[in-house]
Symmetry: C2
Subunit: 161 residues, 2 copies
DNA sequence: CCGGAATACTTGAGAGTTCAACTGTGTTCT
DNA sequence: AGAACACAGTTGAACTCTCAAGTATTCCGG
């Protein structure tokens, strides 16, 4: 660890502006989802991932992988979602280690009800405030970040937010 | 609330890529800071804000404003920082409502020790992975987001990260 | 085919965040 | 002056996330 390569003034401003934007964006989304559907954003994302999976079911490990979540975090989350009846958990036949999580009809319903408001919020805080071209740049930048942060990670999938 | 303006495929990919990048970036920073200094990122930011203030002191309200933090969150945070001896709290003479938080020498020292590693991490996850030009674009995009998220918010300050 | 490593989670404790309610102080209006 | 209101912060409970351990299976080398 030699001398620190401090941030120059431009980098400082960029960094702080970015941090603040991300912080506010995250809070806005989380608050909107909690208010309108009772789910934190992270839990909502879990339901989305399940809804797009074949059979609307995934193993804990698969789901954790998609969400970049620790096993522990996911375990707690799924426990809560199961209590609420939004997902169901059962063992995979033939492998008693593996737990399969599947989205229940109730979970799907909660998702259907939450989605429109969520998408509106995503537009409000992001896509309505930047141009199409800026969005393209943002994606490139995000992909570059993922290079360092998520080596070997596939690009996220396509379907419904 | 008329028909939902769903995200098109490009927007979906951008959104998900961005979300994932931000999530990983945040975790990386938080983990690095907790490991190396025992402070969560939010607490570190509070110390930074104080260190840059005149007299290294701010009122709770001022600090909450700079950090875009709720009064409650800040109150809990400052309570913890005070227990650790990194900040001190006292009432403003002449206004018994107002609490002033000031950075202690110990707090300043913790900051000094944490800063280099933190900056390295910021470089690693952001500035080393994108070009100078992308950084400029990122700042513009972040500023645009802040237009919707933080109406009437001044641009963040300049000094040390 | 047996013992050690790897896999797939789960659990519990400790922190941090949120939300709603509450306390104590200034301000304002009449 | 007095009532109503606004302001500045704090508190407690519920919840979520993290980290370290622990449990239960399955895989693998000798």
């Amino acid at each position: 660890m030699a001398d620190t390569r401090w941030l120059d003034e431009d980098e400082q401003r960029t960094w702080r502006t970015f941090l603040r934007a991300v912080h506010l964006l995250d809070s806005a989304l989380d608050r909107q989802l909690r208010r309108d559907s009772g789910l934190p954003h992270a839990y909502y994302q879990a339901l989305v991932a399940l809804s797009e999976a074949p059979e609307r079911a995934l193993t804990m490990t698969e789901l954790a992988g998609l969400l970049r979540s620790s096993p522990s975090r996911l375990s707690h989350a799924v426990a809560r979602l199961e209590e609420d009846g939004l997902v169901r958990r059962f063992k995979r036949p033939g492998d008693r280690r593996t737990t399969i999580v599947s989205l229940t009809p109730e979970g799907m319903e909660v998702l259907r009800e939450a989605a429109p408001g969520h998408v509106e919020e995503v537009r409000r805080v992001l896509f309505d405030t930047i141009s199409r071209e800026q969005a393209d740049r943002l994606r490139e930048i995000s992909e570059a970040m993922l290079g360092a942060l998520d080596p070997g990670g596939e690009a996220p999938g396509r379907p419904a937010s």
